[in-house]
């Protein structure tokens, strides 16, 4: 029940009232409150405020508070370093308690007078006073306190025991004493709010803390770096980091956490990044995954993550280049690829998306750089696939696994169209010689290629497979069509291939024996009755004949020979002796070809050569222990036909002209397509589109080549430059 006491006070009476209050303050500060009656004091305050003596009271109050706080702090000046922390915390607590009690007594004054006039509240005055007297007025005390705090932290780092809790409170005090008051007015209902302001803390302590920490970390890191190996150092740093995290959590105010930890990382890792990353060479070589993970985690926090990535790239490149000089380069590459990516999988979860992306990209770039330096890897890859396809001893599933490994490397090859050209040559050889052990695996790889590169690249090879299938069907149908007695004299198996898709050179038009020619004509007739628009050209070099011969004393033999050899032997049915020149004329060949064909025939003694007259004679007394004899010269086997030169080669060469032509056609059609949809584009954007498309599927586009294509298209009037903005191209309908 409040009674409004309307009493008029005289100044003297006010002074007396104030004296009471003043004395009471001092007593409160000294904890001698037994004799005091809070209610009475409250009344005094109430009266003073009500009778408009607020100003007077307030100014006196401030003076008194300052004096009291002075007293309370006095002990700090004389306490020694051990006690300083304790005393500091105690002094502050006393001040807080005092201000609370005082605020209770002068509640009315506070609520009506102070808040209405937006003056500093009692709590604020006490805090400010404390702050000024400890830190601003007396520099000695300030320095003393600062040193005390820093020494505590340093001792803690040196593994000495300190009182965490006390230190935490002390540091928190530095923040608390700077609280700002905010007076909110809601319909004459005043509310006081205290907002945290850490400026003082930052100015006074945080700066010095970071400085000190910096110095400390630097010293420690240098010391340890010099006497430990990199591996030991990393383990040490990791432990120390954990330690620091705990420390920071336990007593450092939250706003400084990240700064201290950053400072730590900077000194231990960032400044020594170069040195540490050199250690990576050893760790990766010996697959010390745990250490690499630790290094990764630390570098992720530091600013030198890029250096980490760069060093890794360099390691990969160096390793690859080393492998390049060995024999099993491709196997080495595959192994390294797997190793690096398994490492990647293990490490990468410790970083965020950006780190993952950078890491992944760096690995890919490193591999791509070495793989695409020249055509060596691409050729090796072809040999690898060829070898796998021909291998009889592996099961299909195992083969697919091995092929997948090679495919990983294939994805990084940039000139995929060059790869395709060579691969097609190998494929042609395999299909014609039938050395491929599993058509299914072949088709599987083809499917993978199509998924990766698009159907333009794999189109020719798919036609090759289709050709084989269709030829099979055609041959069977042809055989059925032959009348039964004709069927017995000869057994034909004809492969019809679409000319552009197979990398087969034109062969010399030999004149075959008339018997064989008849059959050729029959098949041609049959085929053209089914496919009227197509023209057939026979390539004898790739075929083989199984010729049945009967010699003297009923000696029957079966020769597997080339078409030309068969022709030659069949000529001997008519005549006993031939001059070599005659034979050359009959078959429309030349000296070299005849020489190579006759070589085996003479070697096996089927024909006897007469040196002086340069003539040949059939050996009627031919004998051999086996029934079936392979006379076909090795040279006419498929792979020699596919390569241009006649010399023996173990590899294929890239036909550069064909590649450039194909690329030009592809690029021009791509440019026209893009411009058709976009109607107009400027040079840079156009190049970006083209580059993206071509690079991922076919080949890397270079700017001069791109410009040539554009000039070509301008001349053919597919596009024109825009008037006034000459780097923009417009599609011309």
């Amino acid at each position: 029940m409040k009674k409004i006491i309307q009493e008029n006070l005289s100044p003297d009476e006010a002074k007396t009232l104030w004296k009471y209050l003043d004395d009471a303050c001092y007593l409160i500060a000294e904890h001698q409150t037994k004799q005091l009656s809070f209610q009475e004091l409250y009344q005094h305050g109430y009266k003073l405020t009500l009778n408009k003596f607020g100003d007077f009271a307030y100014s006196q109050l401030q003076i008194s508070i300052h004096n009291i706080v002075d007293k309370l702090i006095y002990s700090l000046n004389i306490s020694n370093d051990d006690q300083l922390l304790n005393d500091f915390v105690k002094a502050y607590e006393e001040v807080q308690q005092f201000s609370k009690l005082l605020a209770g007594i002068l509640l009315y004054m506070e609520k009506t007078y102070i808040l209405q006039k937006s003056l500093k509240t009692i709590k604020t005055i006490c805090n400010e006073s404390f702050k000024i007297k400890c830190f601003e007025k007396d520099q000695n005390l300030a320095t003393k306190l600062l040193n005390c705090f820093l020494t505590q932290i340093r001792n803690d780092r040196n593994s000495q025991v300190i009182e965490h809790f006390k230190l935490k409170n002390a540091l928190q005090i530095l923040i608390d004493i700077n609280q700002e008051q905010q007076i909110k007015n809601k319909e004459y209902n005043y509310i006081i709010d205290y907002r945290i302001n850490d400026d003082f803390y930052k100015y006074f302590l945080e700066r010095k803390l970071i400085q000190d920490s910096n110095r400390y970390f630097k010293e420690e890191s240098q010391l340890n770096l010099n006497r430990m190996t990199i591996e030991e150092y990393i383990l040490f740093v990791e432990k120390r980091y954990q330690n620091e995290v705990e420390r920071v959590e336990s007593y450092i105010p939250k706003i400084s956490h990240q700064k201290v930890l950053d400072c730590f990382i900077k000194n231990y890792i960032t400044y020594n990044a170069q040195y540490i990353s050199q250690g990576l060479y050893d760790f990766i070589e010996n697959e010390k995954t745990t250490i690499i993970i630790k290094i990764f985690q630390l570098f992720v926090k530091s600013e030198e993550f890029d250096l980490f990535i760069k060093t890794l790239s360099q390691i990969i490149i160096d390793d690859l280049q080393l492998l390049n000089q060995n024999d099993n380069t491709l196997q080495g590459f595959i192994k390294l690829y797997e190793k690096i990516f398994s490492l990647y999988d293990k490490i990468v979860c410790y970083g965020n998306n950006e780190h993952q992306y950078k890491f992944h990209k760096a690995i890919k770039n490193a591999f791509e750089q070495v793989i695409n330096k020249d055509n060596f890897i691409m050729m090796e890859l072809n040999k690898y696939f060829d070898f796998l396809m021909k291998k009889e001893t592996l099961r299909d599933e195992e083969k697919k696994i091995q092929i997948d490994k090679g495919f990983l490397i294939f994805k990084l090859v940039q000139s995929k169209d060059e790869f395709e050209q060579i691969y097609r040559k190998y494929l042609c050889v395999r299909l014609l010689d039938q050395t491929s052990s599993s058509l299914e695996v072949e088709k599987d790889l083809l499917k993978k290629l199509r998924l990766e590169c698009g159907s333009v690249l794999t189109h020719k090879m798919e036609t090759m497979f289709n050709d084989l299938q269709r030829s099979n069907e055609d041959s069977q149908k042809f055989r059925q069509k032959l009348s039964s007695n004709l069927r017995d004299t000869i057994d034909l198996d004809i492969l019809v291939l679409t000319s552009e898709q197979w990398p087969i050179e034109e062969s010399q038009p030999i004149v075959v024996h008339t018997e064989l020619f008849q059959w050729q004509q029959q098949f041609t007739q049959y085929y053209q009755s089914k496919n009227q628009k197509r023209k057939l050209t026979f390539n004898y070099g790739l075929g083989s004949v199984s010729l049945k011969a009967t010699f003297d004393s009923n000696c029957k033999k079966d020769f597997v020979c080339s078409v030309l050899q068969a022709t030659i032997l069949m000529h001997f049915n008519k005549q006993r002796v031939y001059k070599v020149d005659q034979l050359i004329k009959l078959t429309n060949t030349d000296q070299d070809i005849m020489q190579s064909e006759l070589e085996n025939l003479i070697l096996f003694k089927i024909l006897i050569q007469n040196e002086e007259e340069n003539s040949l004679q059939l050996n009627y007394k031919f004998q051999h222990r086996s029934y079936k004899i392979k006379v076909q010269p090795k040279k006419t086997q498929s792979w020699a036909i596919c390569s241009k030169s006649k010399t023996k080669q173990s590899e294929f060469q890239i036909n550069q002209k064909e590649i450039v032509l194909d690329r030009r056609v592809y690029l021009e059609s791509l440019i026209v397509r893009v411009l058709k949809t976009k109607k107009q584009l400027d040079h840079k954007d156009l190049f970006k589109y083209i580059d993206k498309d071509a690079k991922s599927r076919h080949f890397p586009v270079e700017i001069p080549f791109f410009k040539e294509c554009i000039e070509n298209l301008i001349q053919k009037e597919y596009l024109i430059r825009q008037e006034g903005q000459l780097d923009t191209y417009i599609y011309k309908a």
Partner: protein, 246 residues
């Protein structure tokens, strides 16, 4: 005023006009444009020129060949002599441009009729008086320079090809551009080394002009990597700065 005719209608009108008198496509198009594609007006205009151009015709016959159909190179050199200009003087190209003549080395009767009428002269001596003005125009007015330059491509080009030979292009560049754009001197030096390129396409030819105007002496402005300059001009840039080829 009739609505503007489309491509096909224009072609028909040009053909019709060519039946009236022998004139080339360029001249026909020019005249029809002037008369808003009114065939009647165009025909009248041509007949007027013919009527009032008797003196011009006589002038023409002086230079023409024996069959008096066209003026060939001899006639032209005589023409130039009387005008007191060198055969290689760029102003003769400007005059050809005004004539809208079709091929270099030949002037038809209508070339003279039309050209002289446009210039408002009746004889070579009168033309000589106007010559100074023409020369000034050519040297000072960039619009005229550009038009003449572009026109010269078709003027030099043979009928069955879409490009011109390098040596002719070089001649044109030397005649028309080296005076105004000093960078061309080095450009010509570059081309002497360039053996591969035998022909210059229309696009490259036009872009050389743009190159002179936009870049000129200050080659630092040239954007080799992102610019849309033809490869021929890129070659020139690399010739000047061989170490920029990365």
């Amino acid at each position: 005023m009739r609505s503007k005719p489309n491509q096909a209608q224009e072609d028909i009108m040009i053909k019709d006009l060519q039946r009236v008198i022998q004139l080339n496509d360029l001249q026909a198009r020019e005249i029809l444009n002037q008369t808003q594609w009114n065939l009647q007006k165009a025909t009248n205009y041509i007949l007027d020129i013919q009527k009032s151009g008797i003196k011009i015709e006589e002038q023409f016959k002086k230079y023409a060949t024996k069959q008096s159909l066209v003026i060939d190179e001899n006639g032209i050199s005589q023409f130039c002599k009387e005008l007191e200009i060198d055969l290689m003087d760029p102003v003769i190209l400007y005059i050809s441009y005004i004539f809208k003549s079709e091929t270099m080395g030949i002037y038809t009767k209508f070339d003279f009729l039309y050209g002289f009428t446009i210039l408002k002269v009746q004889s070579t001596s009168e033309l000589k008086k106007v010559l100074k003005r023409l020369k000034d125009d050519l040297n000072n007015n960039q619009e005229i320079q550009k038009s003449v330059y572009k026109y010269c491509f078709d003027f030099t080009k043979q009928k069955n090809r879409k490009d011109i030979e390098l040596r002719f292009a070089q001649g044109l560049w030397e005649t028309l551009l080296t005076n105004t754009f000093p960078i061309m001197k080095q450009f010509l030096k570059y081309q002497i080394q360039e053996k591969d390129q035998k022909h210059i396409s229309r696009d490259t030819y036009y872009m050389v002009w743009e190159f002179c105007v936009q870049i000129g002496e200050d080659l630092s402005k040239y954007d080799y990597k992102n610019g849309a300059w033809p490869t021929f001009i890129d070659g020139f840039y690399l010739y000047m700065f061989p170490n920029h080829k990365q």
